[in-house]
């Protein structure tokens, strides 16, 4: 029996659709097959490939025949002698399946005939390979196809199985139910991911443009200013190119991370009152680094501690009374700027609440509160505490 075979595309009774991805081309080693840009579906039992023109053209591979799967990231393709490579074509990421037995696509279609192989490639033109790979591995380790058989067996012997085995069966049922719920929630995630994909593509192309531009215009200061500005916008949107990783920097990881934080956040923080909570930094940084470069809270904390040793503009500070961890730019000019801004706002509204300040300065609530408390400490402000809120007035007592 061939491992890759025709299918009617219908799901088994207990088979669940997990994930799908568009624009998948099947490769037989380096040779493109006739199966191009179709939809690849992952179910709990099988991989289904649907041709996007011919509805009846569906291939299937049972998951139990897959030995393992590998993710092949984009890399430079060695110059091939085949005729098709004369046109310089972009290489997309691929997933390689290592199958139990060799298969012959020539059995199925005779256009691009090839030798028997136990490998098959799926090329992901629109991306989404990381997620797909993860989902596939999940299903391969879960082995739902074997479980469903057990379940059927247990259902047949239901009446005899009372007592301990009955309890076990109940537990098994519960597990299955949970499993299904998880699968369904992942399905929702899949939709979200496919929608976000376009945005990711756009951002990736913009990043590549930036890096090209920086290479091209290293001498012209004006343009690099623009690039810096653009990078700032990107960070706000959530993109850092080439995030520092443990692999890339080894034992200097936290120092390198501190440098990355300093490079990317100094400007943003100085524009937002010169102070930002660690929680906000954590969110922004992780958003900017993207899924592949997520860092832990502990790493961030260690990096922040390193930050103080490197002696840059940015300082890590803890305000114990507010239980507030922040990165801040420490200079008096910043404080004066904030104070003048606060007094300006107070002139307009007679008083100011932390909420009002956080709204008009674009900083978090606790930071706004901290700034107002600072103002109180300097004797510039005084407080009016009511049941409703905490207001700060110009300190008329000391005038």
């Amino acid at each position: 029996m061939n491992t890759v075979k025709w299918s009617n595309g219908k799901l088994f009774p207990n088979e669940d659709l997990i994930y799908d991805q568009q624009a998948i081309t099947i490769y037989n080693l380096e040779e493109k097959t006739g199966f191009q840009k179709g939809k690849l579906q992952l179910t709990s039992h099988r991989l289904l490939w649907n041709d996007h023109n011919d509805k009846n053209c569906i291939l299937e591979i049972s998951l139990n025949q897959i030995k393992n799967a590998e993710l092949k990231q984009v890399q430079n393709r060695p110059p091939s002698s085949s005729t098709s490579s004369k046109l310089s074509r972009q290489i997309y990421p691929r997933i390689l399946l290592n199958l139990d037995k060799p298969f012959e696509l020539s059995n199925l279609v005779d256009v691009y005939g090839a030798y028997p192989q136990s490998f098959v490639y799926f090329e992901f033109e629109y991306g989404g390979h990381n997620e797909f790979y993860q989902m596939l591995n999940n299903q391969l380790t879960r082995k739902k196809w074997t479980m469903s058989l057990d379940q059927q067996n247990s259902l047949n012997t239901k009446i005899q199985n009372i007592g301990i085995s009955g309890i076990q069966r109940q537990k098994q049922d519960k597990l299955d139910q949970q499993d299904q719920q998880i699968n369904e929630s992942f399905k929702d995630l899949g939709v979200l991911m496919s929608q976000a994909k376009e945005m990711v593509n756009l951002s990736n192309s913009l990043i590549s443009k930036i890096s090209k531009a920086t290479v091209a215009s290293t001498n012209e200061n004006e343009e690099t200013e623009d690039i810096k500005k653009l990078k700032g916008y990107f960070l706000n949107m959530g993109l850092i190119d080439n995030p520092v990783t443990k692999e890339s920097s080894g034992s200097q990881y936290h120092k390198a991370l501190a440098l990355e934080i300093s490079n990317n956040f100094t400007k943003i923080i100085s524009q937002n009152g010169g102070i930002m909570t660690l929680a906000d930094i954590y969110c922004k940084l992780n958003r900017a680094r993207g899924i592949a470069g997520l860092i832990s809270a502990e790493d961030l904390l260690n990096a922040c501690k390193q930050l103080n040793k490197i002696n840059l503009d940015l300082k890590y500070n803890v305000y114990k009374d507010l239980n507030l961890h922040v990165l801040e730019i420490q200079n008096n000019q910043m404080n004066e700027q904030n104070m003048s801004k606060i007094s300006e706002l107070i002139e307009q509204n007679e008083y100011l609440t932390p909420y009002g300040l956080s709204k008009s300065m674009g900083c978090s609530l606790i930071v706004a509160k901290k700034l107002l408390l600072d103002g109180e400490q300097y004797g510039k402000l005084c407080r009016d505490e009511t049941n409703i809120d905490l207001r700060f007035y110009k300190n008329l007592f000391l005038l």
Partner: protein, 181 residues
């Protein structure tokens, strides 16, 4: 600060004057105890002046911590602000420190306890004593016997500042030369 009044004629006119609340009374932060020490000092100074002036104007000799909270002294209806009990007791403590007030004690010996009441000395005890002594001198009452009623409730003293003086305060008087029987 309250000055010792040597000119007795001005006393009555001062008392009947219209009471002007200070500007702080219409400033909401006045009703919240300020954490900043410098600010707090200024705030409490203003409060002490206000309490003394108010009590003098209304001829109040004792303030009860709990009752006072809802009087116009400590609550501004227009602003919808009211002093917390904590703030009031801080103000009263401040007055005690300045010898302008004294907590009323209850019990005896080891069981003496602070009550929620407080004497307010808009004239200090010494000032009261002097006022009484001046009156006695002026009317040549030295070495005579007067009843307490005569001295503080009688028609004779209707125009004196110590008319209807709180009796407890009267008995605290320590001016030598006045003897009680």
């Amino acid at each position: 600060d309250l000055t010792i009044l040597n000119d007795f004629k001005s006393i009555n006119s001062q008392i009947t004057n219209h009471l002007d609340f200070p500007w702080q009374y219409n400033f909401p932060p006045f009703f919240t105890l300020q954490p900043n020490e410098d600010t707090k000092r200024k705030q409490l100074d203003a409060w002490c002046d206000l309490v003394l002036n108010y009590c003098k104007f209304k001829r109040i000799y004792q303030l009860d911590l709990n009752e006072a909270q809802n009087t116009e002294l400590f609550s501004n209806k227009k602003l919808d602000r009211k002093c917390s009990l904590e703030l009031i007791s801080v103000i009263l403590d401040q007055l005690v420190k300045a010898n302008r007030a004294e907590w009323v004690m209850s019990g005896e010996g080891k069981n003496v306890k602070k009550t929620t009441k407080c004497f307010i000395y808009w004239f200090s005890l010494d000032e009261w004593a002097k006022l009484l002594y001046e009156y006695v001198n002026k009317n040549s009452l030295q070495n005579t016997v007067c009843t307490i009623y005569e001295l503080i409730d009688g028609d004779e003293v209707r125009k004196e500042p110590f008319y209807k003086l709180d009796r407890q305060i009267f008995f605290k008087n320590s001016e030598p030369g006045v003897k009680f029987f």
